[in-house]
């Protein structure tokens, strides 16, 4: 491992600063070896766990053979990709990926904003703080716990099924969680429930950072509460909303894998097969590593283009952007 020297730092730094060339560089690095010893383990970690996996992406263009390794495997060009586009599940995977994510964007994105605004309208600070704390709770539960409760509640004798039958929304008790047609609704509802408080944190902070004199001016102008939301709050948090919207659009091909995987069962394959899940099944379960990597790479490239475009659009429209 790295040996940390006891030499005073100031003295060390003078050792090699004057020399140039490779030798000079080496001696300058040696002079700050205590600092490099802290940095280089991080660099090595990134190489092993970030960059070598990136290198392995090239197996998407091969017929990868585990025994022969990358060097011994045969190049096949874009064959894995064309195969994916011709796959009879391709359009279904696209539909699931975009469908679910668009629903998440339309329903899951605005609700925390609305929650933050309503929370801000509460008059009692203590009650506000209490609601906030409680609303974070579901975020800290694992998807396994939430999934366990959902399997229980949405089974044919579960709490929610019974309730729905009681109210008359369901004719007879059915196994809701195993019924494909209800699955997206269940996913979106549970995710919104879990993250409403957590995702509101940023908006709450943005709202509390608004200059109080803006509110006072609005009151003097005779603005009611709704007007104040419309004319003061919304314009003030516009930038925050834009940045998060860009991030969400960049994630249109992503998935909440931890959530989906809890419900990953053959009955639901047709409604749960987003790109990530499909790549998992092909790669890990069926051992088609090259094909699954190609599917994953398709997703990464597409997602990057989306993020880039959304960011550009946001810059034009609201003057806010990432980076």
């Amino acid at each position: 491992m790295f040996i940390l020297s006891n030499m005073p730092v100031a003295q060390k730094r003078n050792l090699g600063t004057k020399r140039s060339g490779v030798l000079g560089l080496i001696s300058r690095i040696w002079a700050q070896r205590d600092l490099q010893a802290m940095a280089i383990p991080g660099v090595i970690w990134m190489i092993i766990f970030n960059f070598i996996p990136m290198y392995f992406i090239i197996i998407a263009f091969m017929r990868y053979n585990v025994a022969k390794g990358v060097l011994g495997s045969k190049w096949v060009g874009f064959k894995n990709f064309t195969e994916f586009f011709a796959d009879d599940r391709f359009w279904l995977v696209m539909k699931d990926t975009f469908g679910l994510n668009l629903l998440r964007l339309i329903i899951g994105f605005p609700i925390p904003i609305l929650f933050a605004i309503l929370l801000n309208e509460l008059l009692s600070t203590r009650f506000k703080r209490f609601v906030q704390t409680v609303s974070y709770l579901p975020h800290f539960l694992s998807w396994i716990i939430v999934g366990g409760i959902m399997y229980n509640w949405l089974s044919d004798s579960g709490l929610i099924t019974t309730l729905l039958v009681h109210v008359g929304l369901l004719k007879e008790p059915i196994h809701l969680i195993g019924t494909p047609q209800y699955f997206w609704g269940i996913l979106i509802t549970s995710e919104t429930w879990k993250e409403i408080g957590w995702n509101a944190i940023i908006y709450i902070a943005a709202i509390s950072g608004i200059d109080p004199s803006l509110f006072e001016a609005a009151v003097i102008d005779g603005a009611g509460r709704l007007r104040r939301v419309w004319n003061v709050i919304l314009p003030s948090i516009k930038g925050t909303v834009a940045v998060l919207l860009v991030l969400n659009i960049g994630n249109l091909l992503g998935s909440n894998f931890e959530q989906l995987f809890v419900f990953y069962k053959p009955v639901l394959y047709d409604v749960i097969d987003v790109i990530d899940i499909y790549a998992y099944r092909l790669g890990i379960e069926n051992g088609r590593l090259s094909y699954a990597t190609a599917v994953g790479l398709f997703r990464s490239v597409f997602a990057f283009i989306l993020l880039y475009t959304a960011n550009k659009a946001s810059k034009k429209l609201t003057d806010t952007s990432l980076v």
């Binding site: 020297s5 010893a37 008059l123 009611g224 590593l289």
Partner: protein
């Protein structure tokens, strides 16, 4: 806050708003309450349904049985071990790298930082990462819970944002006394960074505690499965074979597979639920540094 005109409409709105917020709180709390009362109730009694607000036949038997089950004990042990070791390693390692990457005199600093930025936008993805971990011999090895997750560039940025607020004079005076960078980091920087350490400890601790997927994908050995992975398997099998399991249980006991599951879920959840309210101030700040950098 500014004074508001109290018109009737405004008062109605306030009332509805309070009711809505109470509903939100109820929705957040009730699922856990439901699990709690079922974990404290005789399993066969619960199976008859209608148990919504309070235990009907109170018993500790579910918990006693859970703690008699060796598989569950092992799984808890794995969870606790990976959370303690994994979180401590992650926080210390990421903080150390973050500190060194911040020093202007670090040779190669630009290259290192840009490498990190690249990792935030591109990743190899599931399969290539899996291949690397398998090649390294970490499959079916406890260290798979520690080493592949001991660093995060995202957390590095949060650390750096905080470290920048520490007055440099403090570090300089330590260096004058002949301390090297590592000593300055452990003796000066870390003790002053309790707030950011608490934030990352919570984020990473929750991740380690709640993660079940690494156990599924990187281990085959049952003995290496953390409690979340164990619960995953139970939930997945009991959903398809629920009724048969219940009918098949020996009726001498007070528990069913469902009631045991409920007790396990409560034990798994309690630590996090008890800790997070106290760290609220910190993680809210951490969230803000991490998400919106203006």
């Amino acid at each position: 806050m500014s004074k508001m005109k109290t018109s009737i409409g405004s008062k109605v709105f306030d009332t509805l708003n309070i009711l809505f917020m109470l509903l939100v709180c109820f929705c957040a709390l009730y699922p856990i309450w439901y699990v709690l009362i079922h974990s404290l109730n005789n399993g066969f009694d619960s199976a008859q349904g209608g148990l919504y607000w309070w235990p009907r036949k109170f018993t500790w038997d579910n918990y006693k049985e859970v703690f008699r089950n060796n598989e569950i004990i092992t799984a808890f042990f794995i969870t606790i071990a990976r959370t303690l070791v994994g979180t401590a390693t992650h926080v210390f390692f990421t903080a150390m790298v973050a500190y060194s990457f911040m020093k202007k005199e670090l040779i190669g600093r630009k290259v290192y930082m840009n490498m990190g930025l690249v990792t935030m936008f591109f990743s190899g993805g599931l399969i290539p990462t899996f291949i690397v971990i398998k090649t390294l011999g970490m499959f079916d090895n406890f260290i798979v819970y520690i080493i592949p997750v001991m660093f995060s560039f995202f957390d590095l940025i949060i650390f750096q944002a905080f470290f920048r607020t520490i007055p440099e004079a403090l570090e300089e005076s330590a260096k004058m006394d002949g301390a090297n960078y590592f000593t300055v980091f452990t003796r000066v920087v870390l003790p002053l960074s309790k707030a950011v350490i608490a934030t990352i400890l919570l984020f990473n601790g929750v991740f380690n505690w709640n993660d079940y997927f690494m156990g599924i994908i990187y281990t085959n050995k049952q003995a290496l499965h953390p409690i979340q992975t164990y619960l995953y398997k139970i939930i997945m099998t009991s959903d398809s074979a629920k009724t048969s399991l219940m009918a098949g249980s020996v009726s001498q006991t007070n528990f069913t597979s469902t009631s045991l599951q409920m007790a396990t879920m409560i034990i798994t959840t309690i630590p996090i639920v008890c800790i997070y309210p106290f760290l609220q101030k910190h993680f809210v700040k951490g969230m803000l540094i991490g998400s919106v950098k203006e």
